[in-house]
């Protein structure tokens, strides 16, 4: 196991529902003009678990993640993050307090190389000011190298050594998703939000990505909240599942329980009202 992994304690294995609370959203509602994206949703995420958020298209899943990491500000409801209650978070605060994410449509920095993209995840942890940067020699260079080491560990972990110096715009989609995961990992987050990490992938790529997600969760102890449409993946990976439909929560619980819920079956298969 490499250095990046070593300084993190593995998560204790216990029942997900009993673990320490990491994040809780209470009665959150979000509307754009007259359109209600999220209505009165409450759920929690506990330390060390893999939490899945599922639902049909337009159910408000991505909006929910956007609320959690402060990109959208809900009109009602509160967010409790590590014991602190607040109405809204600023994206900067969310990031500096350990919430990282990947995006549904790959949002990499297209003009930069793989290495620089992952290095960008270290931005918050680097502190040398402008004048040290001007000089480069000395503190700025040492800091850069220290963080480069961590980034190289992530590159090794994700097996993307060969594309280190390739501009990400030229990479195939599956690798871009992987680089994006690497960028989020570089932030050493407490909570990792994954927005459809496997969308558009073939079976093999999905298997790889699933393996990375499980490894991140178990080896680094990172809590993960993920949105995914592939039910097989969701049922296998997640400890608990929350189901949204038309901006409302319709089910919440362990995968098997949710799978059996009548409301969920109706939402997915459709029902005559």
């Amino acid at each position: 196991m490499n250095a990046f992994v070593a300084d993190r304690a593995p998560a204790p294995v216990e029942d997900a529902g009993e673990r320490e609370l990491l994040l809780r959203v209470d009665n959150v509602s979000l509307a754009f003009g007259g359109v209600k994206a999220i209505t009165d949703i409450s759920f929690d995420i506990r330390k060390g678990e893999i939490r899945a958020i599922i639902g049909p298209n337009g159910a408000g899943k991505t909006s929910m993640l956007n609320v959690i990491n402060g990109f959208y500000h809900p009109q009602e409801g509160t967010i409790t993050w590590q014991g602190k209650v607040r109405r809204k978070m600023k994206p900067y605060e969310a990031a500096s307090q350990g919430i990282a994410r990947t995006f549904q449509n790959v949002a990499l920095f297209k003009g930069m190389t793989t290495l620089d993209n992952i290095m960008s995840g270290r931005s918050l942890k680097m502190h040398r000011n402008f004048f040290w940067q001007l000089l480069w020699r000395g503190p700025a260079e040492r800091e850069e190298i220290a963080h480069r080491r961590k980034v190289e560990d992530i590159i090794d972990f994700l097996e993307i050594q060969a594309i280190r110096k390739t501009p990400v715009g030229r990479l195939p989609y599956g690798l871009q998703k992987r680089v994006e995961l690497g960028r989020a990992l570089a932030m050493e987050p407490e909570l990792l939000l994954l927005d459809e990490p496997m969308a558009g992938m073939n079976l093999e790529e999905k298997e790889d990505m699933s393996r990375f997600i499980i490894d991140v969760n178990q080896e680094f102890g990172t809590t993960i909240a993920l949105i995914e449409h592939d039910m097989g993946v969701v049922m296998d990976l997640s400890d608990r599942v929350v189901v949204l439909d038309y901006g409302k929560k319709i089910a919440d619980g362990p995968p098997e329980e949710v799978q059996a819920s009548q409301a969920v079956i109706d939402a997915y298969l459709g029902v005559s009202h």
Partner: protein, 317 residues
Amino acid sequence: MLYDIFIDPFVQMYDMPDFFLQVLWEGFVAGILYALIALGFVLIFKASGVFNFAQGIMVVFAGLTLVGLHENGVPAYLALILTIGVMGVLAYGVERVVMRPLVNQPEIILLMATIGLTYFLVGFGEFVFGGEPKQMITQELGLPTGSTAFEIGDRGLIILQHIDIAAAVIAVIMVTALGLFFNKTRIGRALRAVADDHQAALSVGISLNQIWAIVWFAAGLVALATGIMWGARSDVSFALEIVAFKALPVLILGGFTSIPGAIVGGLIIGFGEKIGELYWGGLVGGGVESWLAYIIALVFLLFRPQGLFGERIIERI
């Protein structure tokens, strides 16, 4: 000081209503001309997403060609027709040489290309017709000259130049015609489709090249009309280039794709500029006309980043 800023201008406006109305009229005329330049921008931006910096130069170029042809002995109306032909050739050339090879490039590259076009047209215009300012052939084209004075009750009079009235009428006709063209014809519909999404438009069989040539030609015609009106007020020279930049704040106010927006924006800038210059400009030494338009647009943007008629932008990720 506070009195000079907040009270005195309004007292003046009340005391001398004839002067105030004259200022409003001047602002209105300037606004119409800004709106006409902005209209040319909007046409091209709507159809191709290109911010055409050369629009201002096209105005000068069209005016120069018209006057230059007449100076060389071509009768006025024939010169007008020939100039329309030249604008057509220019439109075709721009589409063929500039737009087509640059399709799908980022907007800043296209913007740069139109600035390159500006340089080319400036050089070409001066090369062919010489660099000195010219008189517009207003009378030869049968446009009205002279002016009429109106009395405002018993409190003075305002003077309206006939050419300005003609400019306003022509602007209204042109905007109506373009509006009808966009909304009622097959090409107009194709044009709106292209504006929305180039690739989707291509996939249903709309020819981008044809559409672009058409909008550049339409923008050329607008430029010609603007050139005649502007030339009749002052003269035809490359000094107009700086004035053409004012179309940018106009577009900011009105939105880059809205024809009525261009008109309203033009009028706001026209009024704001003249009133600001004549009532407040003196306090800081005058000449504020050169930047007031941008500051108006800037302040406005800070409160409504989406423009006057734009919808609120919801950022998605």
